[in-house]
Structure formats: structure tokens, C-alpha cells
Symmetry: D3
Subunit: 140 residues, 6 copies
């Protein structure tokens, strides 16, 4: 079993705000991340696949196929957007990096599983770096 990790980048805005909470509570929980017009990040996304190495190709997974899925299902939807305003899911779910990370995992899992070429490889982990000081990981 080899773990293969591929790194992608996207730039997006978000505002941390839960409409079900009072304004003071939002301010207390989210601090300056609750500022009304939002702010943004250069997100660094790492996608890790786990699988045996194919004895013919010497590869654990087809990187071009992985790139295609990530581009279409993640980057095309999230890059250069305001997550709260442009992405349907985050109109109702607070786009904390925890939630974005789990959403990316779910979307990738679904679309990678239906790839004809995936062999025995499976999605192992999604890691999402929000700033130079913090990142989040989800393994399902």
C-alpha cells in the first residue's frame, strides 16, 4: 500500500457567520472572521489516495484522472469564489475550513469511486491548509 498525495491551490473568500446565532454570539465565536463582508485565503488542498502499486505501470493511481476529478468537482466550483455567496452548500452551512474539508472529501469520494480506472485505490485523506498557521485533515 502506497500513499500518493497531490497538492492543489485555490483562492476564495468566506465569512464565518451562523444566522441561527445572535450577533454577539457570532462575534464571540468567530471574532474577526465574522466581519460582515468576509475575507479570503489561498487554500492549499492535499488529496491522498491509498492503493497497491500496479506491477505493470509502477503507479498507485492515475494522476491525470485524479487531476481531472479535482479540477471539475472542486477547483471549478470553489476557486475565485466567495464560498458563502457562490457555492450552494455554503449558503446554509457555515464555510469553516472544517466544513469545506469534509465537503471536499465527500465530493471526491463519490466521484473517485465511480472512476473506471481506479482499481483498488481509494481516497485516504483530504488536508486543507487555510493559512500559514493552520490546516485541517479529514479521513472520512
Amino acid at each position: 500500500m502506497v500513499y500518493l498525495t497531490r497538492r492543489y491551490r485555490f483562492a476564495a473568500s468566506h465569512r464565518l457567520h451562523n444566522p441561527g446565532l445572535a450577533p454577539e454570539e457570532n462575534a464571540r465565536v468567530y471574532g474577526k472572521c465574522n466581519n460582515p463582508y468576509g475575507h479570503g485565503h489561498n487554500y492549499v488542498l492535499e488529496v491522498t489516495m491509498a492503493g497497491p502499486v500496479d506491477s505493470g505501470t509502477g503507479m498507485a493511481f492515475d494522476l491525470a484522472a485524479l487531476d481531472g476529478v479535482v479540477q471539475r468537482e472542486v477547483l471549478d466550483r470553489l476557486d475565485h469564489t466567495h464560498l458563502n455567496l457562490d457555492v450552494d452548500l455554503f449558503k446554509t452551512v457555515v464555510p469553516t475550513t472544517e466544513n469545506v474539508c469534509m465537503e471536499v472529501y465527500g465530493v471526491l469520494r463519490k466521484h473517485l469511486e465511480s472512476l473506471p480506472s481506479r482499481g483498488q485505490a481509494r481516497l485516504h485523506k483530504v488536508r486543507l491548509e487555510e493559512t500559514n498557521s493552520n490546516y485541517f485533515e479529514y479521513e472520512g
Copy 2:
């Protein structure tokens, strides 16, 4: 003459859009950076001071004084904002990283010049990294 550079970080949103241009022209010039709700970045700001080394302290500039000015005049104004909507200047000036870089230079120059402790040191350069793939520099 020693050059001393200090690195700071802030997270902000922006939208590249010139209301004086037609929509198709905005789309052509700015591409996806013209998306209506904007997007964001982790900006990395480097401020370079040039000056002789004080023979008593062995220092070219008082870093604590520099940090104070940058915090008050730049980070407190730009961090965790949407530049177009939260910062007066960028309500009328397109917040390209070129323009943000020159604005930061101008503000720092003004406030650093009036510092009593600055001695012979002067602001030499401002460098602003927008993404892992590009950065801008301005020397006045």
C-alpha cells in the same frame, strides 16, 4: 547601509472590477478575478528598511517601532476585510495587488518618516505576495 526586512501576513478579499469599463471589458481584462462576489488571498507583506547600523545598539532600526506602525496603519485596516467594501481607498481604486502595494508603501512612508526614533533609516521597499505564483515590489 544594511537592509532589514520584516515579514507580515494578512487575509483579505478583493474583486478586480473597474466600473468605468464595460462588463465585457472587465471580464476580458480581469478574467475570473472579476467574479461578482470576489475571492481572497493570504497576502504576505515584506517591509524593507535601509539604514546604517547604530554603533551602540548594533541595530539598523527599531523592529518594535516598525511592528507598531505596520500593525496600526496596515494590518488593522486590511486584515480580515473585503478590500473593495471595507477600505475607503479601494471603493474607488481597483484593489489590484499593484495598487495595494503602492498604497501600503505610501502609508508606511508617511508614518515611518514621522517616527522620532527612525534616525537615518528610511523605507526602501514594500513587497506584497498575492499567491504562491506572484508577488509585487514597489520602491517609491
Copy 3:
């Protein structure tokens, strides 16, 4: 279960020396790290919390609370010190990065467990980078 990692930095000196060993043995085991006056590093500390995501806030842990504990219990004690001379524990325990890493883990575990806001999250891992060429991890 989401893993949230937060990165901190501190600068400190240390000398690797075990008074219970002969001088030649100290020299053999620690090499130039045994030089009498010590040397120093920019340590990079990563603290990983594991926990479910709160459905109200969308967060796995309160970062401000984590920052408070790390600042008070780790950075205030270790930053800008000579570990062997300024930190009680390392007057008798050799401050190898292995030992510093385990000590930081123990201190954080104790203080994070008593946080009223911690919910179901728990300390998962401490990672301490000593130089560009090596780092250490401890999971308890």
C-alpha cells in the same frame, strides 16, 4: 472526526549534555550539540487536536482557547530562553527535541483537558521541528 493543526514558533538555546556520563561519552553521543555554551534553533511547534465538528459553529475546537493555552503554558515558558538554564525541568532532563516534544505534549494535555470549552476534542499529536532537516512527533 476532524484533525485541526495549529502552528507556533519559538526561538531557544539548548545544550545536549548528560552530567551522568563521562565527558568523552557526552562528546561521542552528542557531537557538536555538546559544545559547552550551547547553540539554538527556531523551533516550529505544531499542535493537532482531534474532534467532531460542532454542528452549530462548524468548528472542531476553539482556536482562541488553544492559542491561549499554548501561549501561557509553552511559549511564555520556552521562547527566548536557554532551555537548560531557564526552564526548571531541563535543569535535570537533557533538552533533546524528543524530550521537549514529550514535555510539551504532557503540559498541553493536562491544560487542554481542563478547558471547559473543549467538548469532545482531545490533543492528538505534538510535532516539533528543530531544524530544516529534522522533526519529532509524539502522540502520547
Copy 4:
């Protein structure tokens, strides 16, 4: 149990090509990595040892011994080579980074196990970064 990771670097060329496949199949599977004269990378190798911390030395493993084995068994064989043409194994095995990673793991495991000084430590993981965008990990 502490995990100690040490980082090394080497520069090498490779060509991804399986002589058992038709030319069009090689082109389809490997893309531009199948170009006839190969291309190269600055590989970043991370070797992780796991072990208890020795109460006398405060260390989990003798880094100088690890450096010696990695230098002799990995860097001296792979650095500044064309993997397909200079390294016996890769004359018949396609030098994908998956295969290089597993080979490095196997070689290190064998030679680290026979080190007299290894105590209870064991090789835990080998991580090989091929480019800024992807890396591979193998744990045996």
C-alpha cells in the same frame, strides 16, 4: 514512542517507460514522463524512525548512524544519476516515484535492522517528494 523524521535531498533523472507495453500505451499511461531522453527532479526524502526515548541520552535514535546508512545506501547510489541507466534495479523496474519509494524503504529496513545501535527503534515510514505538487509515502 516518538517519531523522528530526517530530511535528505538528491537530484536524479528518470524516464517512465515499460518496454513490455506498446509505444502508444506508454505514451497514454505516462504522458510527457515517457519522453525518450527522460527528465529530472530534486527529490526530497524523509525517513521516519519510531522508538522509545532512551532515558540516558534523551534520544530515540542515533541520527549520525541514520545519516551514515542513508548516505551509503541511498544517496551514494541515487544522487546525480539517471535512475534508469545508472541504477541496476531500475534497468528492469520502471522508476516511478512509487517504486523508488518502496525500494528506498526496503534497502533502509534491511540496513537499519542490522545496526548494532538501533535498540528498539524501527523504520516507520519513507516519504519521497517528487515535485512541489506530489509526494509518496510507504510504511511497508
Copy 5:
């Protein structure tokens, strides 16, 4: 005048060898970089343009135009190649990173100058990083 720098990456092989020198002289001058089958690197290319900021667009240069020229004239020619064997120029010129850097500068200068959209901007510098330990800069 603002300096705008854009970062690109390519992977290539090279061998440092001057056929006009005796074998021992090649070995003495180039060391292991003279190994017969070559080795490779992940090159990091930074291209810096200097120019005034257009008051309409707020930009110093059209990044999409720059990307197009660099892709066509540099990356398409050098990426995933063996410089000595695949690139005409380096069949007779030793592909040291100094020479690659100057060649890239020359090619970019020529093609950027003939861009209709370049306005008053001009190529200021090319920086080419060969490894984590060295890089080269050329300003014409």
C-alpha cells in the same frame, strides 16, 4: 514603477560536460554533475517585469499574456526534457544553470518586446532556482 514577478516550474535533466575539455578536466570542473547519463532538477523560474501601473486597469502587465509567452517559449521547450539532448541550443552550449538563465532571458526579452499589449513594461530579471541550495539571476 512596479516590479511584478511570476513564478513557474519545470522539470528537466542535464549533464555538465564540455567536449572541448579533456575527461579529467571535465571531472575536475563539474564533479558529479559530469556523470555520463546526467541527473535532473525541479527548476523554479521567476520572471520579473518592471513597468508603471496603468491607471485604468490598476495593473503593470497582463499576466495572461506573460503566461502565454513563458508557456510557449520556455516551458513547452524545456519541461520534461533532457536539456543536452532535446534542446538544440544545449547540444553545443553547456546547460549550466547560468547558461539556461541567460537563454531564458534572451528568449523572453525578444518575445515580450513584440507583444502588442506590453505598453511601457519591460523584462527586468530572470531568476532560476536549480536546487534548494542555489539560484541564479540575470538582468541582461
Copy 6:
């Protein structure tokens, strides 16, 4: 004229303290960098040489010769030391990074100038990074 930069690293301790100043003045000027037992850093040293490219070798300077001088005159003297206590110069000169940077420049200039192989190349700049947040440059 090509600029060639080579990166080196060393780990050292220092204390910022001027015995000619009163204790309160030292505390005010240097803050926690004045703590009595000092602290330390992983310094990153970049040495830039400027010179024409030799048409025979394709190189601007002999890197092995540069490495030899830097190792002997800088790294062997400063690495794994407490600058104030182990290095003669810094027993009387405050080892701020400004001063260390100028001292390294002076030593390298002297020894590089007397290298028989230096041709027309000359030392252009020394850059010394003290932490992730600041660095210093000196060009003589």
C-alpha cells in the same frame, strides 16, 4: 553579469546586550532578546557572487571553492556556538543579526578576493535570515 546565490544554514545562540548601557536601557532596547542566558536561531545564510559567465565552463564561479571558504571561515566558526561566548569578535560587539551579517560579509570578501580561481567574480551580497519573520542584507 550573472548573480549566483548559494544558501547555507547554521544554528547558534546569542544574547543582545550592550555592557555600556544601563540594565533598564538594555531591557528597553532589546526586549526579551536581552534575557540573561540568551536564546537561539536557525540562521539561513545566502551568499551572492556577481560575475561574467566563463565561456568555457559556462559557470560564473566555482561553487566548490565558495563552499570551501564559507565552511572554513563562517560555518566552522559560528555553527553550534553561542556567538557571545564562543566567537572572539562578539565578545565585544553585540551579535545582532545586522552585525553578524556585516562580519560575514567582511570575512568572505577578504578570503574570496584571495582565491586564485575567482576570475572577475566578486562578492555582491550577504543575506542572513534570523527567523521566519526577518532577514538582513549587506552589500558592503
